[in-house]
């Protein structure tokens, strides 16, 4: 059974950033800028969310030739449901009109 826990402020911010465009694959640097947090805070959160099945991750070919593929992320169905459950607010830095729309 999944443990229910109160998400930290940083977790909420990551969810808010991902919910701004829930179907779009986002890379780490972009997410860090959107969520206004450092990579040191972001990556442990992404890894944890991925391990809990809330986040999908895949490799995407780089847009510019000669660059390595990038790891991109978006919320899974479970993650989307969880994001709605935790009721993100403007304080989490989310574009609320988008985040509250059905997936």
């Amino acid at each position: 059974m999944a443990r229910s826990r109160i998400p930290s402020k940083q977790t909420r911010m990551v969810f808010a950033a991902l919910m701004a465009s829930p179907l779009e694959w986002r890379h780490g640097y972009d997410l860090a800028k959107s969520a206004a947090m450092s990579s040191g805070t972001l990556y442990p959160l992404l890894i944890r969310l991925h391990e809990r099945g809330l986040l999908l991750a895949q490799w995407k070919e780089a847009e510019r030739p000669g660059r390595p593929p990038r790891h991109v992320y978006r919320l899974s169905a479970k993650g989307l449901a969880y994001a709605r459950q935790i009721e993100l607010t403007a304080e989490d830095g989310v574009a609320l009109s988008v985040s509250r729309s059905p997936a």
């Binding site: 990579s39 040191g40 990556y43 442990p44 890894i47 390595p68």
Partner: protein, 170 residues
Amino acid sequence: MTVHDWLANRLTHIAATRLRRSHPDWAQAILNEHASIAGEKERLGWAFGVLRASLAVPSHDLFYPAALTLAVSLMVLYQWSADEGVATLMVLGCLGGCLGFLRPKHFLLSGFAIGLVVSAVNGFEWLSGIHPEYETTPRTLWICLHWLIFIVPGLVSSIAGRRVRLKLLA
């Protein structure tokens, strides 16, 4: 290559090396992400961050088993060399707290392992007849079972260590 870029590269590679064993995909992800960031100051800031991330992410290496073995050994050594009392409780609390802090996920194992030591040492004395010189009370099964009570402070201390770690990470 500038000093900034050299340092950023080194830090990112250290972070990736640390992450590779437990999270190989994520180690590659931070390396590739680093290569895609424009601006040397941004890359350096990113590199410091991923190094911090690699330290914060629990790795599935031998660190925890080694720490647990060391903590249990210290507890056995202490229990063998000194009589039970408040000091035992304090040593047990410190070791349980440290283990709970090191691996919040394994707090139950940490608490039980540390808490069982006192009873286990008494059990060894009872079964083998070997005991420290200062120990005059003959060991019985009841005494061994009685000291299982130390599992409670073991668990309490590991939970406390876990809570501190989770607060720091939140």
